[in-house]
């Protein structure tokens, strides 16, 4: 009888021990298969890129014809990052501390991506450092040498932009009595006329602008 109870106790002990081993093994398997915090960081970087593009795409000026992406497209095609100054300054305020960013422009004419601006490189360019009186892109030194650490995410947007805005024609009639006319700058008074009225068929100088379709891509890393 005593031996039987002892056997029961030993069986129970072995069962408990076996359960503990199973739980430990299962825990190891479950924990190891669980995703790491990488996905959270990746999602955050993706949201950051997406939201930044979305917000900046809504910035319009020049009666709706001008936008931050119009200048950026021209900057990318001409390899002149400083032409995208407004976009860069706005983006510097939106991208938080641990991250850096770069813009690219996809042209459907040559079907290539063109680099617009890389904050980690441009903001640290010694040439800009030496010439601080030049156009200030922002001197956001916090982007200097921020290289890929954990994540990089990108978001792109299809855009139609005016690289050159519509230019309303100048009136050929330079009569000061017409409340004053300043060629190319509006209608203020007391300015010299540069055009002769009643010219033979004064042609319109209306310029329909330069509208392009392309894609803007914002890459964020940190």
């Amino acid at each position: 009888m005593r031996c039987g109870r002892r056997g029961f106790v030993f069986s129970l002990d072995s069962f408990v021990a076996f359960s503990l081993i199973l739980i430990a093994l299962q825990s190891i398997v479950v924990v190891s298969s669980a995703p790491s915090g990488y996905y959270h960081s990746l999602a955050q970087a993706n949201f950051l890129a997406q939201d930044t593009l979305q917000v900046l795409s809504n910035v319009k000026y020049n009666n709706g014809q001008g936008g931050l992406f119009g200048d950026a497209a021209a900057a990318g095609l001409n390899s002149q990052p400083r032409a995208a100054e407004k976009l860069i300054l706005a983006t510097n305020d939106l991208i938080p501390q641990p991250y850096s960013y770069a813009y690219d422009y996809y042209s459907f004419e040559d079907e290539k991506w063109h680099m617009i601006y890389n904050a980690s490189k441009e903001e640290c360019n010694p040439a800009y450092e030496a010439n601080k009186n030049a156009i200030d892109i922002g001197h956001a030194y916090r982007f200097c040498n921020v290289t890929f650490h954990r994540v990089e995410a990108a978001s792109s947007m299809f855009v139609g932009v005016y690289q050159d805005p519509i230019e309303r024609a100048d009136s050929p009639y330079c009569n000061v009595a017409c409340s004053g006319y300043v060629p190319g700058s509006g209608y203020s008074s007391n300015e010299a006329c540069t055009k002769v009225p009643c010219n033979v068929q004064p042609a319109s100088t209306f310029d329909a602008g330069d509208f392009r379709l392309g894609m803007i891509r914002l890459r964020v890393w940190g």
């Binding site: 825990s27 479950v30 298969s33 299809f158 309303r168 009595a177 509208f211």
Partner: protein, 374 residues
């Protein structure tokens, strides 16, 4: 003692089970989140693709396309004044004054709407006159181009449609459709556009043109599992400030034909009237444009400079008195509201300012909806 050991063992098992279940729940939650991230990224890509076929995206492009088409049209009319310019002038006899007898001009605005439609969609105007090939003069062209290089010593008349240059084709809707298709394919989706329909073009007020069109679009993913279609309806407006105005040339053409001026004189580019449209805020009201003497001076300004003379001062002037010889009077400006006085003294004064209330002129024109394109 043994019972206490048993109790502790059971409690330990319960505690371990609770920890194990918690860990498993956490792991399952994070796994589900991981799957959701992947789905989210896919959804964002789909949103980007759908936005390419959105009303806003198409409206922005239609606006740019319309501005370019109208400017191209107006400039081409301006630079190629000819009687055969069908977009300006219908060569059919209008003596009967019956609109039904003008099948080539159903809108009463000389193919303007069709021309703009075809420029926006195809980049040329080759389609709209195809039914009038048997008329004389031959109608399937936009304008005569008579300054082509001479062949064999004689000038050559080349009839042409109004056609975009290669670089201008990016303003056509066809280019927009193909480009959005390429962009969608980059992120794994397909967009296919149908033919624009219900196209209308109207001038809604003195400064604004408005266009409306609808385009069917199909959207699908690369596997063909997701398919949707809709009609994208677009309205866009733009300010015509600064554009060349073809109306003046057209009205001048009709007027000169009525009074029998030879065609060669009508289309002389050095005498053809020209007008651009300018919206000057200072002249917002018609009274603002009314002729008037300057309030803060006695002299005129601008093209005609000289002392301003009111009609009441006319007795001081004489066309016969040597003290007021014609050269001297011509340095003055006569300000009067009398047309008779203005006519009488028009040969003596340097300028006449005929002061009278400005009048407003308005034309109401009804434009039919243009269904389903040409």
């Amino acid at each position: 003692m043994n019972r206490r050991g048993f109790f502790f063992t059971v409690m330990a098992l319960i505690l371990l089970s609770f920890i194990f279940i918690s860990v498993q729940l956490w792991a399952q939650t994070t796994q589900a989140q991981e799957q959701r991230y992947a789905q989210r990224f896919g959804t964002y890509a789909m949103q980007d693709a759908i936005s390419m076929a959105s009303e806003q995206s198409l409206a922005d492009f239609v606006n740019a396309s319309m501005v370019h088409a109208v400017d191209k049209f107006a400039t081409s009319l301006e630079n190629n004044p000819t009687i055969y310019l069908h977009a300006v002038y219908d060569t059919r006899d209008k003596a009967s004054n019956d609109p039904n007898s003008y099948p080539n001009d159903p809108e009463g605005i000389y193919y303007l709407n069709k021309s703009i439609y075809e420029l926006m969609v195809y980049g040329n105007t080759s389609g709209y006159l195809t039914n009038a090939q048997n008329s004389w003069p031959p109608s399937k062209y936009f304008y005569d181009y008579t300054t082509a290089p001479a062949v064999g010593g004689s000038s050559m008349s080349v009839r042409k449609n109004l056609t975009y240059e290669q670089d201008e084709m990016r303003y056509t809707l066809g280019y927009y459709f193909s480009t959005t298709g390429k962009a969608a394919q980059i992120i794994g989706y397909n967009i296919s556009w149908g033919k624009p329909k219900n196209f209308t073009l109207n001038q809604t007020d003195a400064w604004t043109m408005h266009v409306h069109l609808e385009v069917p679009v199909n959207f699908s993913d690369s596997q063909g599992r997701l398919q949707t279609s809709k009609n994208v309806s677009v309205d866009a407006s733009f300010d015509i400030d600064g554009l060349s105005d073809p109306y003046l040339a057209r009205a001048n053409l009709e007027y000169n034909r009525e009074i029998g001026v030879p065609l060669s004189d009508i289309f002389d580019p050095y005498t053809l009237p020209h007008r651009n449209i300018y919206h000057i805020p200072e002249y917002e009201e018609r009274a603002d444009a009314q002729a008037q003497a300057l309030k803060d001076g006695s002299e005129g300004l601008g093209w005609f400079f000289g002392p301003a003379v009111q009609a009441s001062q006319l007795p001081l002037f004489s066309k016969d008195n040597y003290r007021f010889n014609s050269s001297k009077i011509s340095s003055y400006i006569l300000v009067t509201s009398s047309a008779a006085l203005a006519k009488e003294w028009s040969g003596s004064f340097g300028a006449i300012m005929l002061v009278r209330p400005a009048t407003e002129w308005e034309t109401v024109r009804t434009i039919n909806v243009y269904q389903n394109g040409p």
